[in-house]
């Protein structure tokens, strides 16, 4: 298992999550201790030099985001941690929040120090009720021990973290919808510009980063950018948490160095496909991500290699699908998810997903025509290029990538053939 490199997950499961003593013994809070002796701009330089990108899915360079916010002069500024991990097949934040919450707290506190912020909000998804309790205990203990709250570590810097939550809407994972939800408004995305760095939470400049991103901050500050950049590839530095799920033997969260291939992830770490079945495809980034075929298994887990194959890392979820599955059936399942989760505000997502399902159902029951395939392609393009936010823009990507890789399966369904024998065609009907 040498392909696993545990920069931020080494302590998960080994220490009591909310214990300050155990966290400190594991060299926790060293990043914060160092940060408060540093000039904020030097911390930002370190983050920039680490070349870490946001781990929520959009992969925006973290240092640039911090630098932009730093140069905004008005305040107060808010620090927001996006812990609304709603992407199916993604459970890495769950691990970090539940098993090492103090690292997230430390990362947020460092950010707070950099931006002179006194308040941070962490939005933990409604389904993680127990984790919210653990996290709150961790906050309370950090306050009691002077790592959070008033006059942190005897300085004049004060920073408090507030936990907020929603009722389980996937779209609240979109940063602007998340801020609306914190403000008590319906969780629907905001129009941009203005960008959240300028007009964010409560209309104030705001930093929004993912749980995993914040977890890396203490490491980078404590050990320096170079320690981080020794892992990974030329354009993708450090490690990444990957969630293996689906038809794979060893499901779970693994911290790996960028550069590992999809094959190594699925077959070495993941242990391959169970029950003697064969690999059919994988979906990287969860339902909003793209599907890849066997031919793409040699692709390296890094931003440039994935992009060159038309893929993206997204949240880091890899859903493995074996050959007993039908593409149409799988896409129906994905589309039902998006129908459930669309906020309904914009036309392509609200109306597009339901129409996509109608079309998929035609393929599934033997009523599809070649024209339907054209309609689906045009619809998917409109959703991808024309939706208001990332949810709608990614909802049809599974279809587009499956169509690219498994075109014949769509055509077979027009001829009422389902190789996995899942779709039930009605006799005599077209």
């Amino acid at each position: 298992m040498s392909k696993i490199v545990e920069l931020i997950t080494a302590d998960c499961g080994k220490i009591v999550p909310d214990s300050i003593d155990e966290y400190v013994k594991a060299l926790g809070f060293e990043g914060l201790k160092k940060a408060i002796t540093m000039n904020p701009i030097d911390i930002i330089s370190e983050i920039k030099n680490s070349k870490i990108r946001g781990r929520g899915g959009a992969a925006y360079p973290c240092g640039s985001k911090w630098e932009h916010l730093y140069h905004i002069e008005h305040g107060p500024k808010y620090i927001v941690c996006n812990g609304d991990e709603g992407e199916p097949g993604t459970f890495k934040d769950k691990l970090l929040l539940g098993k090492n919450p103090l690292k997230v707290i430390e990362g947020m506190a460092i950010a707070g120090y950099v931006f002179g912020s006194n308040d941070g909000y962490i939005y933990i998804r409604g389904e993680y009720g127990n984790i919210q309790k653990i996290f709150q205990k961790a906050i309370d203990n950090a306050v009691t021990n002077g790592y959070l709250g008033e006059n942190i570590l005897g300085t004049t810097y004060s920073f408090n973290i507030h936990i907020t939550t929603g009722a389980g809407a996937y779209v609240c994972g979109e940063n602007s919808a998340l801020l609306n939800s914190i403000e008590g408004k319906p969780g629907r995305p905001r129009i941009k510009p203005p960008h959240l760095a300028e007009v964010g939470l409560f209309g104030k400049p705001t930093l929004v980063n993912n749980v995993e991103t914040f977890s890396y901050i203490p490491y980078i500050v404590k050990n320096g950018a170079e320690s981080f950049t020794q892992y990974g590839t030329e354009d993708s530095k450090g490690t990444k948490l990957v969630c293996l799920s689906g038809n794979v033997v060893n499901r779970g969260v693994y911290e790996v160095s960028f550069g590992i291939t999809l094959k190594e992830l699925i077959f070495d770490i993941g242990g391959g496909i169970p029950k003697g079945k064969n690999f059919k495809m994988g979906q990287i980034g969860g339902p909003s991500g793209l599907c890849f075929s066997e031919e793409q298994l040699d692709t390296k887990l890094c931003y440039s290699d994935l992009r060159s194959k038309g893929l993206g890392i997204g949240s880091g979820a890899i859903i493995v699908i074996d050959d007993s599955n039908c593409i149409i059936d799988y896409l129906k399942c994905i589309t039902e998810f998006f129908i459930h989760e669309s906020c309904g505000k914009c036309t392509p997502c609200r109306e597009g997903n339901r129409q996509l399902l109608i079309l998929l159902n035609r393929f599934g029951n033997g009523a599809a025509s070649k024209e339907d395939l054209e309609t689906m392609k045009q619809l998917s393009s409109t959703m991808t290029f024309g939706s208001f936010c990332g949810l709608g823009q990614t909802a049809a990507k599974a279809f587009l990538s499956c169509y690219k890789n498994f075109k014949n399966e769509f055509e077979n369904h027009i001829g009422k053939k389902c190789s996995a024998a899942i779709c039930k065609f009605k006799e005599g009907e077209i």
Binding site: S342, T347, R350, Q355, S381, F385, S387
Partner: protein
């Protein structure tokens, strides 16, 4: 101001920074279709009908919301953009009932017009229309949410202009809808029935409850004497129903059309507006002299009455007890006019043509029957009148001007300015000044109370006493003043509140698609009419003087109180 250089469809253009693609394109004659966009509202970018391609952007951009940047290269008609826009429109149409031929917005619908300009001939998508129950549970407003395209304009006007929040967006995905709290019918919400939502709705989802059939039945009955009154604001908007320019003054054609429709007498609400000034002006003087509740607030806007009754019942004593001109007219038609003509009031049917849908509710208030008969029997909006004229195959534009009938059609310029925000105030000041000082006003135009501003203030020297007055234009502004009254910070003596932006010329019963630019044109026309009138002061209206002489006695007389005043406070909605 920084200038940005860009190209749109390969044409170079320079525009100030913060200009949107939509605005920039318009300047060079490039049309980008829109649907949720409304010039008086915030940018929503949710319909996605205005998608265009910006070179270098990984997605298409909405022209309405995207600001230009230096070196930007926009292609509004690339294959990608064109196909995406068409697909978006087809998606909307797949969830819209295709009953255009029998829809109230047939030929006057933004969606229909887009489908036409896009050249939609078939739709690849399956119809997903779900028919929802039409809300008909109030006398004014109909909501047919099956037709809603979820643009959000109605929600914004309700919340941002009126501050009511009776409607909001609810649920998500395919269940996403414009709804009320707990999805209750509108009469169980705090809706004041202003109808501003109907003006901004691009489709046939929100409109007035039509009463044309009942009016037509009265007209068809030879035993019924049908009289009609037309509100001040209708004469500057009815022409728009027949393709005339916004604000076109069509008084003579309006009267002629009403005669053609068969109304026995065509009268003018301007007359009862003059009467309102006599009563309300004297009421103000009485309150000033006898220590009555001040500030006194006008009571002629029924949406406003619904508002104060529901939101600020404790301030109702501030309201003038005057009925609105519409109701005063009705009460007189069934008494004074009935006596003069010898027609039994039970044979008189009073119709009002109003720029307003709340007037329908007002006329149906149980207490509005002081003569023993309903003051007003039916209220039609400007739009309904337009439809009636069309349905009767009357060619409005070639009608020769006709005059209002006597006696209840004689009015002054003070009556007509009731149609614009600040008009009631100005009319009152003209009369109050002259009653108090017994001198003639040098200048009749009180410019400071006119115009579109949210809150207008003025100080008028009336015989050495300074009278501080204010005008609230729309309900959100009314709330600001009411809060000041509550906290005792208000030193106004007299306040005019008009529920709708711009006053009645911007009312919820005016032609669909009324915008601020239309409102401004109508306001201009209202003051032009005033200026052209031989008489411009209510207390100089000879018919009003005769009315007092023959029938009412004097302002605030017992008879006036019985017929022309009322008590608000019952939340009768």
């Amino acid at each position: 101001m920084k200038i940005i250089n860009l190209t749109i469809n390969n044409q170079k253009i320079s525009v100030p920074e913060n200009t949107t693609i939509l605005e920039a394109a318009k300047k060079i004659g490039v049309v980008v279709p829109t649907l949720c966009f409304h010039p008086d509202q915030s940018i929503k970018a949710n319909c996605r009908v205005c998608l265009v391609e910006v070179k270098g952007s990984k997605t298409l951009s909405t022209a309405c919301s995207t600001p230009v940047f230096e070196g930007m290269e926009v292609h509004t008609n690339s294959e990608l953009a064109r196909n995406a826009r068409k697909t978006v429109l087809e998606l909307i149409l797949a969830n819209h009932p295709q009953d255009c031929l029998i829809c109230i917005r047939n030929n006057n619908c933004e969606l229909q017009s887009l489908a036409n300009t896009f050249g939609i001939r078939n739709n690849s998508f399956s119809s997903v229309v779900e028919r929802k129950a039409i809300d008909l549970k109030n006398p004014s407003l109909v909501r047919d949410m099956s037709k809603c395209i979820k643009c959000g304009r109605c929600v914004e006007v309700c919340s941002e202009i009126q501050g009511i929040n009776a409607i909001t967006s609810g649920s998500r995905s395919k269940e996403f809808e414009i709804t009320t709290a707990f999805n209750k019918p509108i009469n169980e919400t705090k809706c004041v029935l202003c109808g501003q939502c109907s003006l901004v709705c691009p489709v046939g989802a929100i409109y007035e409850k039509e009463d044309i059939t009942r009016v037509q039945a009265a007209l068809d009955n030879p035993d019924i004497h049908v009289v009609v009154q037309t509100a001040p604001a209708v004469r500057v908007s009815i022409g728009e129903e027949f393709g005339l320019a916004p604000g076109a003054v069509s008084t003579g054609k309006l009267v002629a059309a009403l005669h053609r429709l068969g109304f026995n007498k065509v009268f003018d609400t301007d007359f009862s507006a003059d009467l309102t000034i006599m009563e309300e002006g004297n009421e103000l003087l009485e309150r000033l002299q006898q220590g009555g509740t001040l500030p006194m607030i006008t009571s002629c806007s029924p949406g406003w009455i619904n508002y104060i009754e529901q939101f600020y019942p404790e301030l109702i004593p501030h309201l003038s007890t005057c009925k609105s001109p519409q109701q005063m007219f009705g009460a007189l038609a069934k008494t004074y006019y009935a006596e003069k003509t010898g027609i039994s009031p039970d044979k008189i049917f009073v119709v009002s043509i109003m720029p307003c849908i709340a007037k329908k509710f007002e006329s149906a208030r149980p207490e509005m029957n002081s003569s023993g008969f309903r003051d007003v029997d039916a209220v039609l909006t400007t739009r309904e009148l337009g439809r009636m004229i069309t349905n009767a195959f009357i060619d409005f534009n070639v009608l020769i001007d006709e005059e209002f009938d006597a006696p209840l059609g004689i009015s002054t310029g003070a009556g007509v300015i009731f149609g614009a925000s600040g008009g009631v105030m100005e009319a009152a000041l003209r009369t109050v000044y002259e009653i108090v000082t017994k001198e003639e006003l040098d200048k009749l135009d009180f410019e400071e109370v006119r115009g579109f501003k949210g809150i207008k203030e003025a100080e008028v020297n009336i015989g050495g006493t300074i009278l501080k007055v204010a005008i609230a234009n729309s309900l959100k502004n009314a709330r600001i003043i009411l809060e000041k009254i509550k906290t005792g910070e208000c030193d106004y003596k007299f306040i005019e509140v008009m529920c709708c932006p711009g006053g009645c010329i911007g009312g919820g019963g005016q032609p669909f698609g009324t915008k601020n630019i239309t409102r401004e044109a109508r306001i201009k026309s209202i003051y032009e009419i005033d200026k052209s009138m031989p008489l411009r002061k209510s207390h100089k209206n000879p018919t009003i003087l005769k009315l007092y002489d023959e029938f009412l006695g004097k302002p605030l007389s017992h008879k006036s109180h019985q017929l022309l005043h009322t008590h608000y406070g019952k939340e009768s909605k």
